[in-house]
């Protein structure tokens, strides 16, 4: 079965579209973009990469190999005393080995990581590009939905979602084949209800609760939530954590680490004035993480 693609012309619009698709129960397979879109991997449910761990392991091996090789050369294979340096002892000779040990650590970490990166991305000279449309490396953003993983939805429903979320072009294709354009005007009204809005309507800002009482929320995030129209514990308890996540990711990469999964529950306790229970919960959960 061919995959269905919707083309968008803005990174924030495509993030919102992906979120609405996920909220409607669709599985978004991928998003192709000309530059990294911050936070979209959380919306679509793609885990962060573990490349950094791999770089650490490569670096550590480089350090060990570097030092032991120098020690073997200078102290074991052909022992020599040059300029009175104590090459016979690893510990005493170590200061002179530090520059090369450092360089070799960086060398192994950087190149090991780069090679892993190329293999994991499947990029090498002569590899075939898999982006669905050549415009996705320029100024277009393509969201991919694979009907195989979305058996509960009809094709028209998927097309409908693309249309309501602002896609300007919708087509289906297999890798390496020509796309079949799907006529935008010719589909039935569907039952898909895209999640309403990401930012709740702004209400009376005079009554505000101190949201910082929720573990995980600091003054900065409180301001973000106020800005998005969440002023009270009640409103927060009624918000979906995925909505809060969108607010956070929209505010920039440094908020990406925050996980709001528990905030609505905490807010519900606060709203019901169950402070003892909330304190107890917060003591048990470091940083408010579930």
């Amino acid at each position: 079965m061919k995959k269905i693609y919707g083309l968008y012309n803005d990174d924030e619009v495509v993030s919102l579209a992906a979120k609405q698709a996920v909220d409607s129960g669709l599985k978004v397979s991928d998003v192709y973009s000309p530059f990294p879109i911050h936070g979209i991997e959380k919306i679509v449910g793609i885990a962060w990469t573990r490349l950094a761990i791999c770089a650490f392991i490569f670096g550590l091996s480089g350090l060990i190999i570097g030092i032991s090789f120098m020690w073997w050369v200078m102290g074991i294979d052909w022992p020599m005393i040059i300029g009175g340096k104590p090459n016979f002892s690893l510990i005493e000779g170590l200061p002179a080995y530090i520059p090369i040990a450092f360089e070799f650590t960086v060398l192994c970490a950087a190149h090991g990581m780069a090679i892993t990166y190329f293999i994991r991305n499947w990029t090498f000279p002569g590899a075939v590009a898999r982006n669905p449309d050549p415009r996705t490396t320029d100024d277009c953003f393509a969201m991919e939905i694979d009907p195989i993983y979305n058996q509960n939805f009809t094709k028209n429903q998927i097309i409908d979602l693309f249309k309501t979320t602002g896609a300007f072009e919708i087509f289906e294709k297999n890798l390496g084949e020509e796309p079949t354009h799907l006529n935008l005007n010719n589909f039935s009204s569907s039952n898909v209800q895209p999640a309403n809005v990401i930012i709740p309507a702004i209400t009376e800002p005079t009554v505000k609760d101190a949201l910082v009482k929720i573990e995980g929320i600091g003054p900065k995030i409180q301001e973000l939530l106020y800005g998005a129209g969440i002023f009270t514990f009640k409103q927060l308890s009624e918000s979906k954590s995925s909505d809060i996540l969108v607010i956070l990711t929209a505010a920039g990469p440094r908020y990406r680490v925050h996980d709001p999964a528990s905030w609505p529950q905490q807010a519900a306790l606060a709203f019901e004035n169950k402070w003892d229970e909330l304190n107890k919960w917060q003591d048990e959960h470091k940083g408010g993480k579930l």
């Binding site: 000309p34 080995y97 520059p99 450092f102 360089e103 590009a129 309507a201 920039g252």
Partner: protein
């Protein structure tokens, strides 16, 4: 989207969209070169050919063709080597250190600065290779790893020697910089690949772009590797020139044997590297029409780095002199007096005036923002930094032994090789400018919305914000006299959607927001808007209408 303070100057001018960024950057690749490119290219190519000829002559005849003699065994080549390595320093500094500091201005210049690094390190590497003399026997230094192992005994390199550290440092620096550069280039090559029409061009860029796809996971990995490589390359930048300085500082020669050499060399390297970036970028923005991306602000930032590192170098020069006097060591004192007053006094004068005095002009803001002054100073600094290395090496070669008191006179081969490497360097850079994406496309696009002129002054309203008025209970703010659709968008950006909200806000906040958007908003006076909004909120339309008739463009008379 990350928001940037309104008082920061835009980094991208000319009302760009994502597509226009692509258009502007790939233009040199698809278009024809202009007259200036061909003139500069032919000139560099001729000089390069001369340099290659001199190198061939050296290798064919021997190092005897250089100006070295029995007392000066190390002069011109090491000066050039250290000079080129120093120039190669700015590239990775810009791409790695400034990335860690989240400096957005680096994105317009990092690609070319990294290219410069790679070409400069290549030029530096030529000198030790040439100095080997019989280069065809170069593999002998690798003997323990090769098939010759037992012919000459188990001979290993000396891991205690700074010269060997240098081999490791420079090759690590070169290869890591190359990988860092290429990883950033792959997505941009993919952009060119997807735009190319001619079959050969498409084929070449398909190979160069390594099948880049640009899906979520690829970008996640891209960001991670950029960050980690920057973290790894940052100490590398500092280690490389520290180790280069140890080539000198670990020897027991007065004038070299000082502990300030590592920081002093690193500052000097960043200094000369930024001067070379400045020279190249001032040329590139003109020749490739990139004035919208490489703005005066970018040059100002680079000039600030130049004046700071230049002052650090100046302090190092002075503290060397101070220590020479304060230590009371007569050999040390002699070494420095000999620099300033000996037969190489003219080189010392060049070094001091070009490196310490000339950049001080950048303390004046007008000079910092003048492109002509920037260009002249950048050239002067590069000359000065060459003389710095010349002074350190040559004046110290004339040390306390009378038998060492001989002058060094470069031969035409020495000069030819040095000028030739400049020719090769510029030839490579000009070829790069016509075939590579000279700006980091994908990174520039990420800062367009936060730092683009059109987004900052509100002429383009973020589509997400523009769509917000469709949400429940937002009011039509344009009913207030003085508010048009654009200002209404600005208010929405501030989080104001309703009359009620507007009536509660202190107008000074709106004024600040408007002022930050450029001169065309400065004439707007929001003083009456809260009161107007209050009437609108209370549905007193007649009263509001009447008052608006009295008002002139929303301003109280």
């Amino acid at each position: 989207m990350h928001k940037e303070s309104d008082i920061r100057q835009p980094l991208i001018f000319g009302d760009k969209s994502y597509k226009q960024i692509t258009d502007d950057v790939v233009k040199p690749v698809f278009g024809k070169a202009n007259k200036y490119w061909w003139i500069v290219f032919s000139l560099s190519a001729i000089i390069a050919v001369w340099g290659v000829g001199c190198i061939a002559y050296t290798i064919g005849t021997g190092i005897g063709v250089w100006g070295l003699n029995s007392t000066v065994g190390w002069a011109w080549d090491i000066t050039n080597f250290v000079w080129w390595v120093g120039i190669g320093h700015a590239g990775t500094l810009i791409s790695a250190v400034l990335l860690l500091f989240r400096q957005k201005w680096r994105m317009a210049i990092n690609r070319s600065a990294e290219a410069m690094t790679i070409f400069a390190v290549m030029m530096a590497g030529l000198f030790p290779l040439m100095h080997m003399g019989r280069i065809w026997n170069a593999h002998w230094i690798m003997m323990p790893f090769g098939i010759f192992k037992n012919q000459f005994g188990t001979l290993w390199v000396n891991f205690n020697s700074p010269l060997l550290w240098d081999v490791f440092a420079i090759s690590t620096y070169f290869s890591v910089s190359l990988v860092f550069w290429y990883i950033g280039l792959i997505p941009d090559f993919a952009t060119i690949r997807d735009r190319a029409v001619k079959p050969l061009q498409k084929k070449i860029y398909s190979i160069l772009s390594w099948g880049w796809t640009g899906n979520i996971k690829a970008w996640v990995r891209f960001e991670e590797i950029s960050l980690v490589l920057a973290g790894l390359a940052t100490p590398l930048v500092f280690s490389v020139h520290s180790i280069v300085s140890m080539d000198f500082a670990t020897s027991v020669i007065p004038g070299w044997h000082t502990t300030i050499f590592p920081p002093y060399f690193v500052a000097g390297a960043v200094f000369s590297g930024f001067a070379m970036v400045q020279t190249l970028m001032l040329t590139a923005r003109k020749v490739l029409n990139l004035e919208d991306y490489i703005t005066v602000k970018h040059h100002e930032y680079m000039n600030i780095v130049i004046v700071i590192t230049g002052s650090m170098v100046g302090v190092a020069y002075l503290s060397e002199l101070f220590i020479a006097w304060y230590s009371g060591v007569e050999y040390e004192t002699y070494a420095f007096l000999n620099r300033a007053r000996g037969p190489y006094w003219w080189a010392y004068l060049f070094m001091m005036s070009c490196n310490v005095i000339s950049p001080l002009i950048f303390f004046i803001k007008k000079a910092r923002r003048s492109l002509i002054i920037s260009f002249i100073i950048s050239i002067v600094v590069n000359i000065g930094m060459w003389f710095e290395r010349f002074v350190i090496i040559m004046s110290t070669a004339r040390d306390y032994l009378p038998s060492n008191w001989d002058m060094f006179h470069p031969t035409f081969v020495d000069i030819g090789i040095f000028i030739g490497t400049i020719g090769i360097f510029f030839t490579l850079f000009l070829l790069y400018a016509r075939t590579f994406p000279v700006l980091a496309l994908n990174e520039l696009k990420t800062i367009l919305k936060s730092s683009g002129n059109n987004y900052k002054n509100g002429t383009v309203i973020n589509p997400l914000i523009a769509s917000k008025p469709a949400y429940a209970n937002s009011d039509d703010l344009t009913k207030i006299e003085g508010i048009g659709p654009v200002i209404s968008g600005l208010l929405n950006e501030m989080g104001i959607y309703t009359f009620k909200q507007l009536s509660l806000i202190d107008p000074i906040n709106i004024k600040l927001k408007l002022d930050s958007q450029g001169s065309r908003f400065r004439t707007h006076e929001p003083k009456t808007w809260p009161n107007q909004a209050k009437m609108a909120n209370e549905q007193r339309w007649d009263e509001l209408k009447k008052w608006q008739d009295e008002l002139n463009g929303g301003k109280a008379n």
